[in-house]
């Protein structure tokens, strides 16, 4: 090591690098010194680094405030090696190595180095459990208890994540006087990211911590104590810690019963004494108190996010439900009841009942897919029906117009199956179109239950130009209709059995001349009994109408 590389950290001012090309360099306050340090407690010519027989030595030049090498006063020339820290009054000079141009670049997470990097020999790992269980040794016990008590009290109050991390670091700084402290937390992907950083007054630069150390601490859940990194020759190359002159380091995992949330790490460069084991105990106690609270805050934030989303969906649910008519008091000559039960907050089923002079329009539909997309398509379908149906010459014409509107610019090929009908209240004549939907049942007053005959045309939205075919039949007084979506017949029991048309038909046969409301509620109860505790897979819509006779 003939060329000497220094990182100079003046008391005031930014740190800089210096490469010594000659065989001696004088450090001091005087402008005649080779490295001038503006520090009023320095002697004019304070210390000197000299090259002797291929090795560099540090000697004090009779300074008033002495020179320290790794916190030991320099009485006689002492050899220096990479990682050593020279302290002159309040300025520091770190001996670097030629290759160490700059501290290794961090990936932005505050960590550096490889996970197979070796750790200093003085590294001691202690299990978190042992540290928390063992009674604190030494005279610092009372002070430690006070600190822990204080932090516990502070943690009991409502606090944000940032404020919590700041609080922990602040208390730790008061008690343990590190020069740098950082909290690392796992992000959603489980990767450690620095979440908070605190530095003692006058400390500059960004501390980077060994990725290897972080891995040991967080994955094994152990606390680590490095008493003297510089004493380990192998570790001299581990620039992650050593380059910034760190000698002593404490790290504790943020552990709770569910695992490790991250770690807190403290480091000291020129601290008078390296960290001790009871410092580690204290840090561990604080870390575990903090971890509990961190988990609570994370859960609370997650809950708040979910609550916001739930509120949005609740609102969408309410808007969707408000689009469906609930009561039909203005319609004479018929008895109508309907229900729509979405499988999720919002769904793609729809129904409508609409008076149009002496006639009444009916619609039940089911949009392909589920969720918000289906709900929007449902709303559009319902709106189109309201706009187009009244005044249309026939049901087939109304459905064809709805289809043209829904198919326009429908690149995703969303579609909605519908059963649309118009009943003449004076005559009982029913005109209807089935666009890819489940057939409607007719409950004859005499007791028969039959699906309405007729062609099935394509569901709406699938193809832009298509003719729809209407069918007609005349309802007798007291006849009823049952319109539904496939959520009814495809409802699944806990044993994955489907409700099927057979069960639906036998239920309808038993209905007799029950009111529309009884038919609907009775079917819902049948479904509930059948499904039991199994989840609801699909939206369920049921609409019953009984024709009471010419008005």
């Amino acid at each position: 090591m003939s060329t000497l590389h220094l990182r100079v950290e003046p008391r005031d001012g930014e740190p800089f690098r210096h490469e010594v090309r000659g065989d001696a360099v004088v450090l001091g306050r005087s402008s005649k010194a080779d490295i001038v340090l503006a520090d009023r407690f320095l002697s004019r010519q304070h210390a000197r680094l000299v090259l002797r027989e291929g090795s560099w030595f540090l000697e004090d030049l009779g300074s008033r405030n002495t020179t320290f090498l790794n916190d030991r006063p320099v009485a006689q020339p002492m050899p220096v090696r990479p990682g050593d820290v020279i302290r002159l009054a309040e300025s520091r000079i770190v001996i670097a190595e030629a290759g160490d141009e700059l501290p290794a670049q961090s990936a932005g997470d505050g960590l550096t180095g490889d996970t197979d990097e070796r750790l200093p020999e003085s590294t001691v790992f202690r299990s978190a459990g042992d540290l928390l269980a063992g009674p604190a040794a030494g005279g610092g016990l009372a002070a430690h208890m006070r600190l822990i008590n204080e932090v516990h009290r502070a943690l009991a109050a409502p606090i944000t994540l940032e404020a919590l991390l700041d609080l922990i670091l602040e208390r730790v700084f008061v008690q343990l006087q590190p020069e740098e402290g950082a909290v690392f937390l796992r992000d959603e992907k489980g990767e450690l990211k620095r979440a908070a950083l605190r530095r003692a007054h006058g400390i500059t630069g960004e501390p980077l911590y060994s990725r290897r150390l972080a891995q040991e601490v967080t994955e094994k859940g152990v606390a680590a104590l490095v008493t003297d990194a510089s004493a380990d020759a192998r570790f001299a190359k581990a620039e992650s810690i050593l380059f910034s002159g760190v000698r002593s380091l404490l790290a504790a995992p943020l552990l709770d019963s569910e695992g490790c949330l991250g770690m807190i790490v403290l480091s000291a460069k020129s601290r008078q004494h390296p960290f001790q084991e009871d410092d580690l105990e204290l840090l561990m106690a604080l870390a575990s108190a903090a971890a509990l609270r961190l988990r609570n805050i994370a859960l609370a934030e997650e809950t708040a996010r979910r609550r916001l989303l739930d509120r949005e969906l609740d609102l969408a649910h309410d808007i969707q439900m408000a689009m469906l008519p609930k009561a039909f008091p203005h319609l004479g000559g018929i008895d109508v009841s309907a229900v729509l039960r979405p499988a999720r907050s919002v769904g793609g089923d729809l129904y409508d009942v609409m008076a149009d002079g002496e006639r009444v329009w009916l619609l039940v539909g089911d949009v392909s897919g589920k969720g918000v997309g289906a709900a929007l398509f449902m709303a559009v379908t319902k709106t189109l029906f309201r706009a187009i149906a009244p005044g249309s010459a026939s049901v087939a014409e109304a459905v064809a117009r709805m289809n043209r509107e829904l198919a326009r610019d429908n690149d995703r090929a969303m579609f909605v199956t519908v059963f649309a009908a118009r009943l003449d209240l004076a005559t009982g004549e029913l005109e209807y179109v089935n666009a890819g939907h489940n057939p409607t049942y007719r409950l004859e007053s005499g007791g028969g239950v039959t699906p309405l005959p007729g062609p099935v045309d394509p569901a709406l939205g699938a193809v832009d130009m298509h003719a729809y075919r209407g069918s007609r039949l005349r309802l007798a007084p007291r006849d009823a209709l049952l319109l539904y979506t496939d959520g009814v017949i495809e409802a699944r029991s806990a044993s994955e059995e489907e409700f099927c048309t057979q069960r639906l038909e036998s239920y309808l046969l038993a209905c007799g001349e029950a009111s529309a409301q009884l038919i609907v509620q009775g079917l819902l109860e049948k479904l509930d009994d059948f499904v039991g505790d199994a989840p609801q897979y699909d939206d369920v819509t049921i609409l019953a109408l009984r024709f009471l006779g010419p008005s």
Binding site: S368, G436, V456, P458, A459
Partner: protein
């Protein structure tokens, strides 16, 4: 779901295998759309390996049919099992597609179209 492919005389055969439900249909959709974007104009979708198709799966067939509407292109479905055929019929879609019993007939139909 697996998606098999075969090319004969300028006709691309796409053969999905398995269930085409709300999850796997997006995979089939990406596959079909990528082929159409690449310029395929004569396509057979062989459904012989499909045991179930949901409404989301029907959407994929509709997207293909829309983009291959004559004269821009042509699409033939084949190999419809009873379950798939029933779903297409219930949605009223069976009339929207050119359907052949098996791949050989589907290819013959498209090749005849070319020579005419």
């Amino acid at each position: 779901m697996e998606i098999g492919e075969e090319r004969t005389a300028g006709v691309l055969v796409i053969a999905p295998v398995g269930r085409v439900d709300s999850v796997s249909s997006s995979e089939l959709e990406r596959h079909v759309v990528a082929r159409l974007d690449a310029g395929e104009r004569r396509v057979v979708i062989d459904m012989a390996g499909v045991e179930y198709i949901s409404s989301a799966g029907l959407r994929v067939l509709l997207i293909a049919a829309k983009r291959l509407k004559p004269p821009a292109g042509s699409l033939v479905l084949c190999g419809l099992g009873p379950a798939v055929r029933t779903v297409l019929e219930l949605a009223g879609f069976i009339s929207l597609f050119a359907v052949e019993p098996a791949r050989a007939q589907a290819l013959a139909r498209l090749e005849a179209k070319t020579s005419s």
